[in-house]
Structures are given as structure tokens and as C-alpha cells.
């Protein structure tokens, strides 16, 4: 009996001494992409963005987002403020156009640009493709508040992404993105994004509130909240230039 107990204690000690099994970080990042990519369905919602700048009244933007990720398309239509009502962005694959109803003209835009005067990027509105655009260069277990997280460092493998380097805080329990830091090529922190709340839509978790903090311009931040998320089928005509023109008539 003594021998058996001793063998078990030895076994437990050996097990404790052995390193924990390596987490499947690419798999975790892939799951983040899957959560934020609507592969087989359309997606629409309303975003309210409240942008704060020191010494200025907060600016409120309300946009309606329509996404068809399987065709790499999205359309953003400005609902508020009144001065920007009718403006819109249309993505078709790698092209992004901005429509201005005043001039009735479309102009090429970039996913790297900020969405209007907020700290959210146009790329924040499109389907996630972290695993495709970045390489995982490091990871470590850590804690963020009360959550155990994996902190994953990513480095861009192309020049088309908004930030050359990112660090992600991913909850170990449920693989949800809780925080993201975006860095410049020179490793300077440019933006921190926080994802404190999630809603469940058709079995998948979507961040219902996001906070983007500009780390270069002190005091500048934008809070984005999501409303009326829907996976209802959208007409093909939504993802066209004609749609943006039509809604402004």
C-alpha cells in the first residue's frame, strides 16, 4: 500500500514538473476570426460611436452596417449626425469607396483610415482575417482583471493591414478577445481597444461594446455600441454604389 501511495505521489510530482501542454494559439486566433466572420450568412447592425476629444463636445455618429463576408463586401451608411447623413462606405473585395451625397461622387478610400472623426478604423467594420494577415510571433499566459488570458503578439505579413503589429488579450476560458493593442512599425503603442461586453447572435459571440483609445493623442477615445444585430438575408442590391445613391434621393 505504502509503495502504491509513494508511486502515486511520485507520479503526481512528475506530472507537476512536466510543462503544461502547449496551447493551440493558431487555433485560438482562427476561432477569433471565425467569431468575427459571417461565412455563410449576411449580417447587419447599427453602431453608435461616441468620440471624445479633450476640450470638445463628444461627437456622436450612428451608422448602419451591412456585411456579406463570403463575398468580401460591406456597406456602411451614416444615419447621424445630420451633416453626414447619407454618406457611406462600400467595400467590394479589396476596394473601398467613400460616397459623399453633397458632391454625389465616389472616392477611393482605405481600410486604414479612421471611420469619420472617430478612433475606429474602417477595417474594424470588416470581417476579421488575423490569421491570414499576421504571423504569431509570441504568446504568454497572463491575467487581465479577473480573467486568465493568452497574450498573443502578432506581426503583419503584408502592408495592407491597419497596424504592423498587434497584441491580443484572449480569454483562456472562452476564446473571446478582451483587449487589443496596436503598434506602429517602430513598436510605439498607437491604439488600445477594449471589448468588455459580448452578445450572442445565432450561437456566436459579438462584442456589443468596444472602446478604442488613441494612445498618441491623450484623451481621445471612442466608444462603439452595437444595436439590432441581425443575420437576416440582405438583398444583393445593398452592396452596390446604386444603393448609396438611391438612399440619398
Amino acid at each position: 500500500m505504502k509503495q502504491t501511495v509513494a508511486a502515486l505521489v511520485l507520479l503526481a510530482a512528475c506530472a507537476a514538473a512536466l510543462p503544461a501542454a502547449d496551447p493551440d494559439i493558431p487555433g485560438i486566433v482562427a476561432r477569433l476570426d471565425q467569431q468575427a466572420r459571417f461565412a455563410n450568412v449576411d449580417f447587419s447592425c447599427t453602431y453608435t460611436l461616441v468620440a471624445e476629444k479633450p476640450g470638445e463636445e463628444p461627437s456622436v455618429f450612428k451608422v448602419r452596417l451591412f456585411r456579406r463576408d463570403r463575398e468580401e463586401k460591406f456597406l456602411i451608411l451614416f444615419l447621424e449626425p445630420e451633416t453626414q447623413k447619407g454618406q457611406g462606405y462600400l467595400q467590394i473585395e479589396d476596394n473601398l469607396w467613400f460616397y459623399d451625397p453633397e458632391s454625389r461622387k465616389f472616392a477611393h478610400s482605405s481600410f486604414k483610415e479612421n471611420l469619420s472623426d472617430s478612433d475606429a478604423k474602417n477595417s474594424d467594420m470588416r470581417a476579421s482575417s488575423l490569421l491570414q494577415d499576421y504571423s504569431i510571433v509570441a504568446y504568454e499566459p497572463n491575467r487581465l482583471g479577473k480573467y486568465d488570458v493568452w497574450v498573443v503578439s502578432l506581426k503583419a505579413n503584408n502592408d495592407e493591414v491597419s497596424y504592423p503589429k498587434q497584441r491580443l488579450w484572449i480569454s483562456q476560458a472562452d476564446n473571446l478577445l478582451l483587449k487589443a493593442e496596436s503598434y506602429s512599425l517602430s513598436d510605439r503603442l498607437m491604439r488600445s481597444a477594449y471589448y468588455p461586453n459580448y452578445v450572442q447572435v445565432d450561437g456566436r459571440f459579438l462584442p456589443s461594446r468596444m472602446l478604442f483609445v488613441d494612445e498618441l493623442n491623450q484623451g481621445e477615445k471612442t466608444q462603439a455600441t452595437i444595436k439590432d444585430p441581425s443575420l437576416a438575408v440582405l438583398p444583393d442590391s445593398v452592396f452596390t454604389k446604386a444603393y448609396l445613391e438611391k438612399v440619398n434621393r
Binding site: D159, S184, S186, M190, L216, N217, G219
Partner: protein
């Protein structure tokens, strides 16, 4: 000689009439000279201001396609370019400027401003270091600081930054990646007009690091030639010399023509090429609208001078018809005393010539005086008009050929105008002329 003396005497006999007619000619010459010389000054000042900003009359850019289809401007190897510039006959090179340039958001204590920062190889551009007028800091401090920055006083004031402060810059690298860096504000330059706020200066090596290109690489090669009029010819020779050595985009068919500029830009967008393809442009390509404005002003000046010439012609014609009518008996006397028709005709032509040349010279003198007085006025260097000024002042440039043309034109017109009355006077019968009574 006698004819000239008599012609002078005749003009001085009618001082009031000669003064008015000569004054009209002088006024015409004054206006056209002022318009033409002011236009010449405008064009030269705009060109010079842009030459200082862009550091050259002729520019070479190397364009590359990234794998994602983006076009980036970088010169990685300039051996062929430098060789062609220095070895081709007929390119009077004064200096070369190998510069890198970034556009970024300068941030200091919560304030941000979009700014172009030019990375200069200061060992190559000593003249620029001498020419910069500094309000604060020193060029020595700047040269000693590897990430130093010289900022225009207006921009520094907006950022509330002073020498010694460190500024953040947020920019895109050459291939479009987000980057953030620092500048040490080493000196503040005097605001010498709208153009001086366009550029801030730093070291090329630091700008290159921020753009994520190698230290020896740069974004544009500026060639300053000795004489402004030789720019287009020198550019044509350089283009021909480079054609066999590097890939080149076609030159604009007409300098500064907006359709041509759009056509070449479209070609750059649509073209597919491997490696680096170079684009050669000149200051005249960028100043098309200025040259058009100058041409319009010159046409306006020419129209003005034609109107004035017509008035002068009619004035001279009528005046000399009256002169001949008044001096019919004198003509008869001169003819009776043996003066030949040719001499008599020449006498009137000389009178007209002296009158017109006197008027034209007076006009030129008045023009020089007015222009001289106007150059004393100092305009606000921050005004949009400043681009037409040289250090805040108007300048006047009149080509000697134009000067000669005005003198000859006025002389020819006055001779032509007086020819008919002079011939009529020479053909008068002496006996009938002597019988003429008023």
C-alpha cells in the same frame, strides 16, 4: 545733321503739342513695360520660390510596384541617373539634391498638425543651411541632433513647441504601414510666406528610418541648373541620355498641360512593370497654371499696347496733318530755297522719330521709377499673394529683347503714321505753298 537740328527746333517750337503727344507715347510705353515686367517678375518669383521648396528645376522619381499593387516612389540606386546628369553635354548642373520626404501628423502635447517633413542630406545642401532664416535655435544644434527638426515659426506656434521639445510624428511608411517616431525640435525658421509653411526640414537618414527605407535611398532627385531658360532643353537631353539606361515614363507633350498630366498619371496607374521605372518632370510641368496666367497677362498687355499704338498712330497722323497745314508756307519757302523733296520728307520723319523715341525713353524712365517705388513696398509674407513675391517684395523683369522691341515698335509706328503727311508735304508745289494764306 542740319535736318536733325531743324527737326529738333520744330519740335521745340510747339512745346505744348510735342509734350502732349510725347506724353501719350510715354504713357503707353509705361503701361506695357510695367505689365510685361511685372508678369516676368511674377513668373520668375513663383519659379524661384518653387525651386527653393522643391530643390531643383528638373526632378527624377523612381516608381516601383509593391506586390499588392501599390505604387511607391523611391530611388534605390542612382548610379545611372547621376552618371547621365553629370556626363551628358548641355546640362548646366548647379547642384543636386537627393531628398526624402514624408507627410505626417506632428503631435505635441495634445495638438496635432499635418506637415511635410523633408529629409535633406545637409552635407550635399550647404546652401540651404545658409539660406534658412532662424527665429530660435541654431543650425549647429540642428546639425548635431540626428533626429533634429527645423519647423516654421507659424507651425511651431500652433503646436506651442519650442527648441528642445520632442515632437511625435505619426506617418505611413513608404509601403503604407503605420509608423510613429520622434523629432527633436532644434530650430524654428522664420515665416517667409505661404510656401515656407509647407516644409519642415530634418536629416535624410532619420526621415528614411521613419519611411522604412535604407539610409542611402531617397525619394526624389532634384537637379538645379544654372539658367532657368535652359530647363526644358536640359530636361530633353537628360531624358534622351537616360532612355537607353533605365525604364522611363513618357514626358509630358506640353509642359504644365493638365490633360497631359492626367494622361501620364493614368498610365502610371495602369502600367505594369518590373523593378524601378523613372519619371522625369520639370518645374514648368508643375507651374502650368502660372505660365498660363503669365501668358494671359502678356496677351492682355499686348492687346493694351495695340490699342495704345492705334491711339498714338491716329494722334501722330492728325498732329502732323495739322503741322503740315500750319507750315505750308514754310514748306514752300524751304522748297523755294532749294530743299529737295526727299530732304523735306526726311525732316518730318525725323521729327516724328525724335518725338516717339523721346516719348518711349521717357516712358521707360517713368516705368523704372514706378517699378523702383513699388519694389520698396513690403507685402505681408503670409498672404496668398506671397508666392508671387521675392522676400515679400514685388520684382520686375523685362527682357532686353522686349525693351528693344518696344522702342523699335514705337519708332516704326510713328514713322508709318507720319509717312503719308510727310509725302504730301514733300509733293507740295513751292509757288502754291507760298501763296497759301490762313
Amino acid at each position: 545733321m542740319n535736318g536733325a537740328r531743324i527737326a529738333f527746333r520744330n519740335l521745340s517750337r510747339q512745346k505744348r503739342r510735342s509734350f502732349l503727344l510725347g506724353g501719350a507715347i510715354a504713357f503707353g510705353v509705361l503701361i506695357i513695360t510695367l505689365v510685361n515686367s511685372a508678369t516676368g517678375g511674377f513668373v520668375e518669383n513663383v519659379q524661384e520660390n518653387f525651386v527653393h521648396i522643391l530643390a531643383g528645376h528638373i526632378f527624377l522619381e523612381g516608381l516601383e510596384r509593391t506586390p499588392s499593387g501599390r505604387t511607391v516612389s523611391v530611388i534605390r540606386d542612382d548610379t545611372a541617373l547621376t552618371q547621365a546628369v553629370l556626363a551628358t553635354a548641355g546640362i548646366p548642373v548647379r547642384s543636386l539634391a537627393r531628398r526624402s520626404q514624408l507627410t505626417g501628423n506632428l503631435i505635441f502635447e495634445g495638438e496635432g498638425v499635418q506637415q511635410i517633413v523633408v529629409g535633406v542630406n545637409w552635407a550635399e545642401e550647404k546652401e540651404l543651411a545658409r539660406r534658412l532664416r532662424l527665429r530660435a535655435g541654431s543650425i549647429e544644434d540642428f546639425l548635431a541632433s540626428p533626429d533634429g527638426l527645423i519647423l516654421n515659426e507659424k507651425i511651431a506656434r500652433r503646436l506651442r513647441a519650442e527648441p528642445g521639445d520632442r515632437l511625435l510624428v505619426q506617418l505611413r511608411t513608404l509601403t503604407g504601414q503605420q509608423n510613429v517616431g520622434d523629432f527633436a525640435l532644434a530650430a524654428v525658421s522664420a515665416d517667409t510666406g505661404i510656401l515656407s509653411t509647407i516644409s519642415a526640414y530634418s536629416h535624410r537618414s532619420h526621415v528614411n528610418a521613419l519611411l522604412n527605407i535604407l539610409p542611402h535611398e531617397y525619394t526624389s532627385l532634384g537637379i538645379t541648373v544654372e539658367r532657368l531658360p535652359s530647363v526644358d532643353a536640359a530636361a530633353a537631353r537628360l531624358y534622351a541620355a537616360l532612355q537607353s539606361q533605365v525604364q522611363l515614363f513618357p514626358r509630358l507633350a506640353r509642359s504644365g498641360n493638365s490633360d497631359d498630366i492626367r494622361r501620364v498619371q493614368k498610365q502610371i496607374r495602369d502600367d505594369r512593370w518590373e523593378g524601378t521605372k523613372f519619371q522625369l518632370t520639370t518645374i514648368n510641368d508643375y507651374l502650368g497654371s502660372v505660365n498660363q496666367l503669365a501668358a494671359t497677362l502678356n496677351i492682355l498687355g499686348i492687346a493694351l499696347v495695340l490699342i495704345l499704338f492705334v491711339i498714338i498712330t491716329v494722334g501722330i497722323l492728325n498732329t502732323f496733318r495739322m503741322v503740315i497745314y500750319e507750315r505750308t508756307r514754310e514748306i514752300g519757302t524751304l522748297r523755294a530755297l532749294g530743299m529737295q523733296r526727299r530732304s523735306l520728307r526726311g525732316l518730318f520723319l525725323l521729327e516724328s522719330l525724335f518725338l516717339s523715341l523721346g516719348g518711349a525713353l521717357a516712358g521707360l524712365a517713368a516705368s523704372a521709377a514706378v517699378a523702383g517705388a513699388m519694389t520698396l513696398i513690403r507685402f505681408d509674407p503670409a498672404s496668398p499673394f506671397a508666392v508671387f513675391l521675392s522676400s515679400g517684395r514685388l520684382t520686375f523683369k523685362l527682357a532686353p529683347a522686349n525693351l528693344l522691341a518696344y522702342l523699335l515698335g514705337v519708332a516704326a509706328i510713328s514713322l508709318l503714321a507720319v509717312l503719308v503727311p510727310a509725302v504730301r508735304a514733300a509733293n507740295l508745289e513751292p509757288a502754291r505753298s507760298l501763296r497759301q494764306t490762313y
